[in-house]
Amino acid sequence: MYQYNAFDQRFVEERVEQYRDQTRRFLAGELTDDQFQQLRLRNGLYIQRLAPMLRIAVPYGLLTATQLRKLAAITRDYDKGYGHLSTRQNVQINWPELEAVPDILAELATVQMHCIQTSGSCIRNITTDQFAGVAADETVDPRPYCEIMRQWSTYHPEFDWLPRKFKIAVNAAEADRAATQVHDIGIRIRPGEDGAPVFDFLVGGGLGRTPVIGSVIREGLPEQHLLTYLEAILRVYNRYGRRDNKYKARIKILVRAMTPAKFRVKVDDEWALLKDGPSTLPAHEIERIKGCFAPPPYAALKDATAALAKDRLADPAFNTWMRNNVAPHKRPGYAIVTLSTKATGVPPGDVTDEQMEAVADWSERFGFGDVRISHEQNFVLPDVPQLRLRQLFRLACQQGLGQANAGLLTDMICCPGGDFCALANAKSIPVAEAIQRRFDDYDYQHDLGPIDLNISGCMNACGHHHVGNIGVLGVDKRGAEFYQISIGGNQADEASIGRILGPSFQRADVPDVIEKILGVYVDRRFEGEPFVQTVRRIGVDPFKERVYAKEAAVAG
């Protein structure tokens, strides 16, 4: 974990006072609603349907046990005793008082946390692989670079008032667990020819109204140039991105209008003038940050395959959980555990204060006090000794965090939707729940294999529906809530945007539609072929035919 030094600590403390002053001026009538909106959004505060919503930054999804306990206390003291894990690896609370937000910030600052730039037209929380630093398939640890970029993007003098929000994702493993192809900037880090890390840049990916897969504009950039190259991209975007229409203001629209080739030339021209300038990273700075992410004091363990096999045989539920929720670690004898929040009847990503405290405790008992939040809205414990997995599983089950569905159908991504969000066209949480109830048999889900089902309550696509293998989008039809279904999206390697099946459905029909889609897959798949591959091979027509066959309730 990155540890704040005196500079970082003073920064967040001054930020608390700055925001306290902004809130005071707003309440005193010295800032208009529109003016304060821009300021509060840059502090993650939305005014929602029922109450304000505060988004707390969890940089690249990393938390300490101490920080998680503080979040639990904040949800208890200032909210209703629960929080929400977001798809940007942040934590949201849904019921804070606007007047109390400065005090919440002050509490956060005591544990090296803040809400800076968690919303607004600025560089948002940088996301990465939730297994960063421990994944068996990792080639470079991306976390130090995420921290370097976090610092660089915090109150950047020139790039905090962009045409639109700006999202950066970083991946450095063989599997892309950070969805780098659908971000404003996707960065892939890999070892270069001499072994030193180099950076590949994709730009102009994104979801929202116009889903686009990003284009590669630079490969093999050496690490010292990371910030100057980012500045070149951001400067081109800040100057030329559209500001006349918020739906055309993301960088993807600019890249497409210019063409990726011309955008690249523009960036290269700008970079030629910035390269080797003051933002060039000195080796001592990279080393300083890397030092914060040195491996914890791992014990010299051996893989416990035989003992685990015995436990798995004795306990089928544990076996299912092991298969779905436990990932290989780069150290022998350790494992990475995903604690799924996707229990039937609980909104995806919602966790209580008690659950947060339990996870904090487990992170210390079964690890080194580190916790991750995944963009799939789950907790991850990164350093669990294999021999203690069964004990952790039992405890997790008691806390409602033992669902064995990581990566499966009911491990859905879901935005807060119309129950909370002022932007939503339709509710999303009840749809998630209806699907969970229909398909809560883990054996059936396991037979289906990995399926990402993503639900968004509106075109803003916070639930990433475009890149769900199955995507559900809430739409408004003459004041009524309907749901459009797409299939074939994919967020990881070979990212793709899903194709819409056809006319939208009423909420009550969505589980039936999903069941029919899965029926076509089960009938047509080759052995071992994942859902998304079958869709790619046979196309959407067979699915359309089954879904819209005579009795389907079509909304028109």
Binding site: Q3, Y4, N5, A6, F7, D8, Q9, R10, F11, E13, E14, R15, E17, Q18, D21, Q22, R25, E30, L31, Q35, Q38, L39, A109, T110, Q112, S121, Q151, W152, T154, Y155, H156, P157, E158, F159, D160, W161, L162, R235, N238, R239, R243, L273, G277, P278, S279, L281, P282, H284, E285, R288
Partner: protein, 162 residues
């Protein structure tokens, strides 16, 4: 009300959005080109620094109009004018400005701000001074902390909350 170099100041310039340039006036680019002697020039925040930067760097005052308070194009323009075209005169922000944005403008090289009234001007002065340091290089701080031995040393201590 004008804030200049961190203080409320008498405005010895007059903004002329239209009309001819003359000494003491801040005129449009076209007007200024016809009669640059003793005149300042105003431009919109989306002006192309690469096209006009060299030319207007000779003016005593460049005023940049911010069409909306959340429009950051003028920040890039100011930064480029100072760092790439060596402008050393007064760089002034006018238009839709709220005090909180002056912090960013100041770091991008603006040293003068037109605010609607004295109260806003006073808040602006406080806003500019509120954060004692930042992470990046800027026009004000040409080196980021990691390039500056003194700030690096000061930052070495642990970040215990105060």
């Amino acid at each position: 009300m004008l804030v200049r170099d961190g203080r409320i100041a008498e405005d010895d310039w007059r903004l002329a959005l239209d009309g001819d340039a003359a000494p003491g006036l801040i005129a449009s680019l076209e007007a200024w080109r016809r009669a640059p002697d003793g005149a300042g020039v105003w431009v919109d925040g989306d002006a192309e620094a690469d096209e006009i930067g060299e030319e207007i760097a000779a003016a005593p005052v460049v005023a940049v109009r911010f069409p909306a308070f959340a429009d950051g194009r003028g920040l890039s323009f100011g930064s480029l004018l100072r760092t790439r075209y060596g402008f050393t005169g007064e760089l002034r922000a006018f238009g839709e400005i709220i005090p909180d944005l002056a912090e960013y403008m100041h770091r991008c090289g603006f040293n003068a701000f037109e605010l609607p009234d004295r109260r806003q001007a006073e808040i602006t002065i406080a806003c500019i001074a509120r954060m004692s340091d930042h992470y990046q290089a800027s026009v004000r701080e040409p080196a980021p902390p990691f390039q500056d031995p003194v700030r690096r040393r000061d930052a070495q201590q642990d970040g215990a909350p105060h």
